[in-house]
Chain length 425, copies 2
């Protein structure tokens, strides 16, 4: 289907067919959901042994009684596991609670109130605070910066990560820019892995950016490969080389390794950043849940068992991603209606329609019982100027449901495209 | 021993004896600790069944898969358990993570940034922000207010709770006062229970205080009786009567019910307060650890089992409190050296020496191997102007260790008192 070159009569023929298809689908009372990046129940089952793994033995290898208060940093072995995910030394890692998003929120909240690191100017005392937001990106990142009234500057994504030419100019010119959101491996939603060159250039930003500029490096999908493990260049190693260790703060978690709502989050940063953070964190908590850390260590004691565990996730996710990509390929490979990403891991497929159609496609699909992530969600403030990006999340539904949801989606994309072309014809 | 009326030669005789006792104690290489209010290992053992209680069944009674994301409020049955502790309706309760201190910190942080409730002025935009701090009180409360640069005004405690005459005058006169810290049952450290009259007058403060004034009601020891259950008048019920529901925010947790570092925290507040809080909390987390909530519900499904569980704690704590109180009684009942509280629950005994001696007693005891909570810790900024309050925490050490630690303590109190009297003689 090539809309651009189609005749009006061809468009009308398509329209008749698609309106009938859509009417047919809409009558089926479907209830399908491709919205959020949640693991499915069978993925969660992989970690069911977390309950009872302790066998009543609540002592960590170092003798700590994990049931009691204390241990702001986390258990040493858990720090080591996080360090293996973030590819930085254990002593630079802090183990949090059940949510890396909370660590990110706290990073910004503490920076706002007290400054970053051990002595930076609080962001709240700056005349202006801006953040770079690679787009499309993760709505929850944008929601945090928005809540603090931080101005968000969209930066385009490429297949190698955010456009570094743009970023280098911006951070050097404008020292009101205090941070950038990054999902460096299997970026949410495009699924790209930042290239070695992108990571290296990111690591150099600290040399030209404002002193209290921080890269928030949300490595949520560090070990979430669909097939072979794909390496990500270590930003911290590069920062050490350039002397910019304070410019980057890393995050990851086991939310999509063990239990989404009951996993363990990690933060990795320079000693100065970590000390500043812990000073405030120590006021706000009696320490993380070390029992859950120990539970995790019994199930996943090291990186090798972590990767084995993730291979089981991959086996469950591969056919679901294939169902999405096969449907897109079959419908749109020979068309000018769409482009999409084919990630090797992570949780999303990023889909672009013809301009001006994303909201309409999401509406059509939703009304036919196929709920999609709201169009625009992948842009700061929900504003996708070209109105074309839709995030597809295949992890939660069954493969059968994905196939039906994609059949609905395909009809909606085609119908919206043909309607638009007819209106302009 | 009556210092005030003792002759110089009597003082000198005591001094000779006590210096010898102290020298003797100091040589023993003791390592004792009466500092923090931590449950002992045998108390924590009472909840060991938390591990494996699920039996691999991760469904809450309402069908929720507790392993996945979501559920900002917490599981309905867990809200009900918290509601029974806070004595307010379930729908007014939010279930947090492992730390009620975090909920308190967040309450202040959100109030600072966005205001309290649904529309109050952010505290950060007020010309001045002050907090009332009943003293002696809890150092971690004071540390939070201090971190936000909030001016702390000490208010004296009585056996019925904070001095309400003072408080009523202050909050009506000075609308820069935005809050007060309260531990209404078994106050930390005096152990008093706020009287019905105190609670009723607290509930009325909202009518005369600033609009964005909040009582932070940290009911940490709601069910932590050493013997019979002692009732605390429900502040929320009184607030409903006076139309001041927005003026109080309640907190409690299972930290000293199940596992200190891996319990479940609760917050209880009016719909307006809760909605405002949840709006910001929803940005900062993917939801609380519902698996741990379900685990808790399997062990402690309702208030009746909660009270049965707490009776086991009481049986373990009673002899430890008795060891402290017996030692104080034996040494100081017939003296002018000290006064102390005899709480019916909670985690502390509050001890007052003669003025100007607390720091010296803590130093002497520490050097003899008996570590005590730093003198002054129970006052805002660590400043006990009369230098006399010491918080004794008997829960963590063994009874045998408490007996030795108290023997050391008694010698240190007497020695410091005699030295002071001799210096003045």
């Amino acid at each position: 289907m090539h809309i651009h070159t189609a005749s009006k009569s061809q468009l009308e023929a398509w329209s008749t067919e698609l309106e009938a298809d859509y009417a047919d689908i809409s009558q089926r009372g479907l209830k399908l959901d491709l919205t959020r990046g949640k693991p499915s129940a069978i993925q969660l089952d992989l970690a069911n042994a977390l309950d009872s793994d302790l066998g009543g033995d609540y002592r960590a290898p170092d003798g700590t009684d994990v049931r009691n208060y204390g241990g702001l940093d986390g258990l040493p072995d858990m720090k080591a596991l996080g360090a293996s995910m973030l590819e930085m030394p254990s002593e630079n890692v802090l183990v949090g609670g059940n949510s890396s998003l909370t660590l990110m929120y706290q990073t910004i909240a503490f920076a706002w109130q007290l400054g970053v690191g051990e002595s930076g100017t609080p962001w709240s005392q700056e005349p202006a605070v801006k953040f770079l937001c690679p787009v499309p990106g993760y709505d929850r990142h944008f929601a945090i910066t928005q809540a603090f009234g931080i101005e968000m500057i969209p930066v385009p994504m490429t297949d190698d990560g955010p456009d570094m030419d743009v970023i280098e100019c911006l951070v050097a010119d404008d020292h009101a820019i205090k941070g950038i959101w990054c999902v460096p491996k299997y970026a949410n939603p495009t699924g790209c892995i930042y290239s070695a060159d992108t990571v290296s250039r990111m690591a150099k930003l600290g040399a030209v950016a404002a002193d209290n500029f921080r890269i928030l490096w949300d490595n949520a999908y560090a070990v979430h490969d669909l097939d072979e493990f794909q390496p990500l260049t270590s930003i911290f190693t590069h920062c050490e080389r350039y002397g910019t260790q304070d410019s980057v703060i890393q995050f990851t978690s086991t939310s999509k390794v063990t239990f989404a709502g009951a996993g363990v989050a990690f933060m990795g940063a320079s000693a100065a950043n970590l000390n500043g953070f812990k000073q405030q964190l120590g006021l706000a908590t009696i320490g993380p849940d070390k029992v859950n850390q120990l539970r995790h260590l019994r199930l996943i004691p090291d990186r090798s068992s972590l990767l084995q565990h993730m291979a089981q996730h991959a086996a469950l996710l591969r056919p679901k991603f294939a169902a999405v990509l096969d449907a897109l390929e079959a419908a749109f490979a020979d068309s000018d209606l769409a482009e999409w990403t084919s990630p090797q891991g992570g949780y999303f497929v990023s889909f672009n329609s013809r301009p001006g159609l994303a909201r309409e496609i999401v509406r059509l699909s939703g009304e036919a019982g196929g709920v999609l992530t709201p169009a625009g969600a992948t842009y700061p403030g929900g504003l996708d100027e070209k109105d074309r990006n839709i995030r597809l999340a295949p992890s939660f539904p069954t493969q059968a449901d994905i196939e039906v949801a994609m059949a609905v989606f395909v009809v909606c994309v085609k119908l919206a495209s043909v309607r638009q072309a007819l209106a302009a014809a």
